[in-house]
Symmetry: C2
Subunit: 607 residues, 2 copies
């Protein structure tokens, strides 16, 4: 059975040596007032979270997958031990960790909260989604709820007494929410009657808590078609009295659970709303805006699923590769054995290092963005908030798509290290692959992330956010000119960043003639920019590692290992950009094929 | 539920227009004497096979996955309908299709037999493995069995009355068969007593037939350690009397079945041999040689699993993409609908075309190699046999690894086209992904294939086989000089082939100093050569398509679609070679990292 040990040393390296989180957060009174900005507190929290992850929820990961969730008469049963683990998690205060102290939260920075989240995902992704979805609901309600609503619901969510969900998808619409049909009828008493069917609702029904708070996109009767006519509603499973106590059961029922490839221990519900009582969150017909507040956090959270699963898969593949003996390698590692541990073989190392490099860069991206979210939300200087917000907006689709794509790749490679045993359930590696696959699909498919990046985030503002990023990279390169150890990386990074600029120009100009040109380049463009981002982060990490070595602090070789991983990344993974540059330039020409290629007959009419 | 329609038109295009199979086979008396070389016969066989695949076994694919195989007291129950389908398959003569007429076979060329196999795999891979494994056992017995053995066993295998297996892997050894412990004790009566445990035995036990013929690698008492001491034995489940009737139960028992990620309807058995009666096949201590006869066919067969699953996944993704409406595209495809079919979107086309291109190239490679196997085995001209044998030897690892890697990618992309629905079992797409994953692992992992290619097939003969291939490509390019329609492809192909040569030199020279350099480059090298091979095959197919168009035979646009798929391949997939060239050149330097990267302490001793 797989094991998991939280990568605490790696996290501390990023927080302390690379991003200097305590110094950054000390500019933010929201954190300093409760002294939640300190590295000492972070250390304690991470230690404690690591224990919970490894000892409480990781042992439930395989049994949860085997048992799955069941539903009878609308009542969902989660796998053995899941409910008890959740109670323990809530009782220990983890659900309140980075919540606002005004509502009972502990006010810990998101950069720490997300480091904790990575551990929970790695230990048991299906379990982690129950509190994870609540966190999204908390965020949206906090941003758009009125005071009365916030005062009742936010403390319950932060205490973990209730959980939350996001109800967006319907059978006929996922990406294209403008098509949604769930309707809301104004009851005239401040409430609405919500009727419709929502599918793919993660953690949509369960037995963890007394109540569940559904955030539901619906169209108020008479509202316009399309996304402009959509509003966001709060629909509790049990109606809530003014004092916060539970009233009658509301008209929302779990009709069934989906049978899925993975994340089987999370209840993915079909929810029928039949005149359920709901309350408007935010302004009418501004539901998409509120939803995106929820989605942006969820997208980084989904990206982190790629990281968490990539990490746990890597750890177990590494252990297997050290233990499994098969074939010889010269010089022999252990002549007393009839063969050498497979880790001596170059291709096994290639697979392990690929996962290792993707994990370490993804962790760096996660914590960089999380720290930026802390700045964006709470820094007293508006200019710093805007700068951070721009970075988060630009990087969110990359964090979601690049991290889940690479995470999937990492789980597949880690499975491959096991040979035939990787295909057998008992070893647990195939579960990581199945669990990782969903990250590329939900919260907006990775193709949609790519359209968001190139269309909205890059071309949408005339390249301003991208230019800020390029400026940051350029400044870093110039600052470190003359650093001989970094020079080869900085050279490759500079060329990559420069080519990213020219590719953006090429695609942008073609897209002015034909929008399909941006769409055709989008996925490859996102991967290109993801690699430039990772190259920057590896250079940052290498710089910190070199400083650690120069200061004589590398007795155990940790910093050296960071440098070697960075060199591997530049030599073996970053060159994918060479292929991507070619396919981006190739554009839409070979995609805009005649329909005969697909055997379609169609009638085309201009809008 | 997914459907499957055999790509008959594509197969005929390859057999007739591209490889001109009838003409090639008409030089081979083995086929002409029974008139099994004709295109007419091929047409009839393919039509009939397509009906069987779609009507009989495809409807059992999802139910087989859900039900799986069970074992109690050594008796295995296969999923509902599987046994009956097999009886029907054997009764219709499919098990004898490309078998030798001397033993009751129909003597149909392998190029037709493998086209049929593709259909069976696509329709139901887990089912197809039962007759597939028999075919491997037939091949090895035919090559190495003595006459008495062949006379009894081969007709039974070809009639489908008995099935066969390959028993290689043991708990502590898969890749490294030299470590195997199963022992054979000479009984002095022409038989041996076989004792040991074999794992991962596909189709290792079932209820299809009265008997199962296990081909087992074991070490005769006193034989040397390592692969040199291994012999191959025939161990029937029931002992066989001299007249071919069944005797007593032999001492081989199914101890358990593996719980796997996919191919769940195939019984993957742990077999305990406890003094089972076995008979030597071929010479003592030459078991590896006999095993490789079986393995080479099995490797092409495994590659075809990537093709079959890529094809069926593509077909269903295409149907979904035409049907599912979501978001607008200008010009609008169907303004009467609230949105357009997702096939209009550039990235959906990219995903579909990727699978389509990989499938069509894989099918071309399969039929090219299969026809070459027919020549290798039966052509009267020894020089032609040797030429074909060299091509098959060189291309087998590419067929196995490149086709299964690309097949897995294709199933993942096809699943992605379905969005969230792709993750739900009912749609059947996630099964294709799970089923496709094993192809990259078994019959020698794809990493092992890469070592076989670069080590044994390319550098092992000083590049002779590779030079023959290069010569063939060069001749094709020269023959078609001045063909303006082909010129861009030939240009890219020529550059790719040239760079393949120079990369081979670079790696070969480094490997003379350090074997690890070849190992470090192996996987990327195999992908590079795979792409050059596919580029050649797309150029061949394009040439045939252009001839069809020029002859006025393209009313339905089929040839045009071939050309457009080839152009897509060159624009969007072949450029991966740019990245591969860089990573091949990067060599072993960043893989030969200090052990501190992986946290290993070790003692290194030279051999």
């Amino acid at each position: 059975m797989p094991t998991y040990k939280a990568p605490l040393r790696d996290m501390r390296f990023l927080l302390k040596d690379v991003f200097k989180a305590e110094a950054a957060l000390s500019e933010v009174p929201y954190y300093t007032q409760n002294e939640t900005h300190t590295a000492d507190l972070a250390d304690q929290i991470l230690d404690e979270a690591a224990r919970f992850a490894s000892n409480v929820i990781q042992p439930l990961n395989m049994s949860g997958d085997a048992e799955g969730c069941t539903v009878a008469d609308g009542v969902v049963k989660t796998p053995a031990g899941f409910k008890e683990a959740y109670k323990q998690y809530a009782a220990a205060g983890w659900t309140a960790l980075d919540g606002d102290p005004e509502y009972g939260g502990q006010g810990v920075p998101h950069v720490i909260g997300n480091a904790v989240s990575e551990m929970m995902i790695a230990a048991n992704i299906a379990w982690s989604m129950y509190p994870g979805l609540s966190h999204g609901a908390y965020t949206a309600l906090k941003a758009y709820g009125d005071d009365a609503t916030k005062n009742i619901y936010l403390p319950k969510l932060l205490a973990g007494e209730w959980t939350g969900t996001m109800c967006l998808t319907e059978p006929h619409c996922g990406t294209d929410l403008g098509l949604l049909r769930t309707k809301a009828v104004d009851n005239g008493d401040g409430s609405f009657s919500i009727t419709g069917t929502k599918i793919f609702i993660s953690a949509g029904e369960h037995d963890f808590t007394d109540n569940i708070v559904h955030l539901v996109l619906a169209r108020i009767e008479g509202a316009p078609a399309g996304t402009k006519g959509i509003s966001l509603f709060l629909v509790p499973k049990f109606n809530v009295n003014a004092d916060g106590s539970l009233g009658e059961r509301n008209g929302v029922v779990c009709a069934s659970l989906e049978h899925k490839m993975g994340i089987k221990a999370n209840a993915t519900a079909v929810l029928n709303f039949d005149g359920a009582k709901g309350f408007l969150v935010g302004q009418p017909q501004k539901g998409m805006q509120a939803m995106f507040v929820m989605m942006n956090g969820a997208r980084l959270g989904t990206g982190m699923q790629g990281l968490g699963l990539g990490e746990v898969a890597y750890q177990n593949a590494l252990a297997y590769a050290k233990d499994r003996i098969q074939m010889r390698h010269e010089p022999r590692m252990d002549p007393a054995q009839p063969a050498d541990p497979i880790i001596v073989h170059a291709d096994v190392r290639r697979m392990l290092l690929t996962a290792k490099a993707y994990n370490e860069a993804a962790r760096a991206l996660t914590l960089w963005l999380s720290l930026s979210i802390d700045i964006e939300q709470h820094h007293p200087d508006a200019a710093k908030r805007e700068e951070a917000a721009d970075l988060v907006a630009l990087m969110t689709p990359i964090a979601k798509a690049f991290m889940t794509d690479n995470g999937f790749t990492s789980t597949v490679l880690a499975q491959q290290v096991f040979g035939g045993h990787g295909y057998i359930k008992e070893w647990g590696m195939e579960q990581f692959v199945r669990d990782a696959r969903i990250g590329q699909i939900y919260e907006g498919t990775n193709g949609i992330q790519a359209l968001d990046l190139i269309g909205r985030k890059v071309l949408g503002d005339g390249g301003k956010k991208l230019q800020k990023l390029s400026g940051m990279l350029q400044a870093f390169i110039e600052e470190n000119e003359g650093n001989e150890d970094l020079a080869p990386m900085l050279d490759a990074l500079g060329k990559g960043a420069q080519q990213l600029g020219s590719l953006t120009m090429v695609v942008g100009q073609k897209a002015m003639q034909d929008q399909a040109e941006a769409n055709a380049a989008a996925v490859d463009y996102l991967r290109y920019m993801g690699h430039v981002t990772y190259a920057y982060l590896f250079a940052l990490m290498s710089k910190a590692a070199l400083e650690g070595i120069a200061a004589g602090n590398d007795k155990d070789g940790f910093y050296k290992s960071k440098l070697q991983t960075a060199k591997f990344y530049y030599a073996k993974l970053f060159p994918e950009t060479k292929a991507l540059a070619a396919t981006i330039k190739a554009g839409n020409e070979t995609l805009a094929v005649d329909d005969v290629v697909f055997g379609i007959e169609r009638e085309v009419v201009s809008a």
